[in-house]
């Protein structure tokens, strides 16, 4: 189970990058748990990211140079904060714009009835 089954996995899977980039462009730095909480809050608990999906996605974006991370000691444990690189900022705004375009197109596509042939 990648996500809480409020929505189908495959829909969310393709949206995860957009979600992460958008949250990080609104917040200078975040750690993994903070991201899951914020997604729950903003989606009114309709979307729950799971660890098995979120962290690999974060690491992948980091390896692609879109995110950078820093480790901060919190008492006896280590917290890894993620933030956008310059490349990540550019990608975030481009990605969001494209995503909205995609959603609008999908609404049009799925709302219209095909003309009878």
């Amino acid at each position: 189970m990648y996500y809480c089954l409020m929505y189908r996995n495959e829909w969310l899977k393709g949206s995860l990058k957009t979600i992460i980039l958008k949250l990080l462009s609104d917040n200078s730095r975040m750690y993994g748990y903070e991201i899951t909480r914020m997604v729950e809050d903003l989606s009114e608990n309709n979307i729950q990211l799971t660890e098995g999906a979120l962290y690999p996605a974060l690491h992948k974006l980091e390896s692609q140079g879109l995110l950078r991370s820093e480790k901060v000691n919190i008492g006896k444990r280590v917290r890894k904060y993620y933030s956008l690189t310059t490349k990540g900022q550019a990608e975030a705004s481009k990605n969001l714009e494209e995503y909205f375009g995609f959603v609008r197109t999908m609404i049009v596509l799925l709302s219209n009835k095909p003309a009878t042939t």
Binding site: Y31, G32, Y33, E51, Y55, S63, K71, R77
Partner: protein
């Protein structure tokens, strides 16, 4: 509400037992679970309950998935390490080659004749004239009269002289790293003082021009002002 050190250790242990053994990702997961436990504590749970809830949410399936998904990262690290290793080996190899090349050019590491017979080695020997035991400060290479004599390393000619009762016609070349080489008993000296020579260049011809019983080259290597056995620094020795 913040977890105590012991509570964190308990969580770490339980996480290890769950099978999450990828160390680079372990700390991050510990922090995540600690956050979950803290949130549950804030709702009024006991630590045991809070921990149990957190691990229920993060079941073994989820941990497996997490591990599977992050395997590629470790693989990437391995590939990176491999690349770094290859690069380091390459650079080390290149340095070695360059230094051995420089060594080979500057150090008299070849023989001054292409065809020869060693008739007398470095060290104590019976003098062919006096039949007394004496130190021999070079090596004697027997070769036909007129055989070309080669510079054994890059350098500058510092002496071109004739000592009929000793070295005969001889040439001394100075090399880097405080090396000098002496080529004696020549029939001809084909270089002048101050000329630059490269390794393998003909500097004279074999003869018997000094204190000698027949055509041969008397060859000496001098390091830091002391004569050493030329054989000891040959490339293949």
């Amino acid at each position: 509400m913040s977890l105590t050190e012991i509570q964190i250790i308990i969580i770490e242990q339980e996480l290890r037992e769950s099978g999450l053994d990828h160390l680079p990702l372990f700390d991050e997961m510990v922090d995540h679970i600690c956050c979950m436990v803290e949130a549950n504590l804030n709702l009024g749970c006991s630590f045991q309950e809070a921990k149990q809830l957190a691990f229920e949410k993060l079941g073994p399936k989820e941990i497996n998935e997490y591990q599977k998904q992050t395997d590629f990262l470790l693989q990437q690290n391995k590939i990176l390490m491999k690349r770094i290793t290859v690069a380091v080996c390459f650079i080390a190899g290149a340095c070695l080659m360059i230094s051995s090349f420089l060594y080979a050019q500057n150090v008299p590491s070849i023989m001054p004749l292409s065809n020869y017979e060693i008739t007398s080695t470095f060290g104590m020997r019976t003098d062919p004239y006096t039949k007394e035991k004496r130190q021999h400060w070079g090596i004697d290479l027997k070769a036909p009269m007129g055989t070309p004599v080669l510079a054994t390393a890059d350098g500058i000619v510092i002496t071109v002289e004739n000592q009929p009762n000793g070295y005969g016609k001889y040439v001394v070349i100075e090399h880097e790293d405080n090396y000098q080489t002496r080529y004696a008993q020549l029939s001809e000296q084909n270089v002048a003082v101050g000329s630059k020579v490269t390794k393998g260049k003909v500097i004279g011809l074999v003869g018997s021009s000094g204190r000698s019983t027949g055509p041969h080259l008397h060859y000496e290597v001098i390091r830091d002002g002391k004569r050493i056995d030329p054989i000891s620094i040959l490339e293949d020795s």
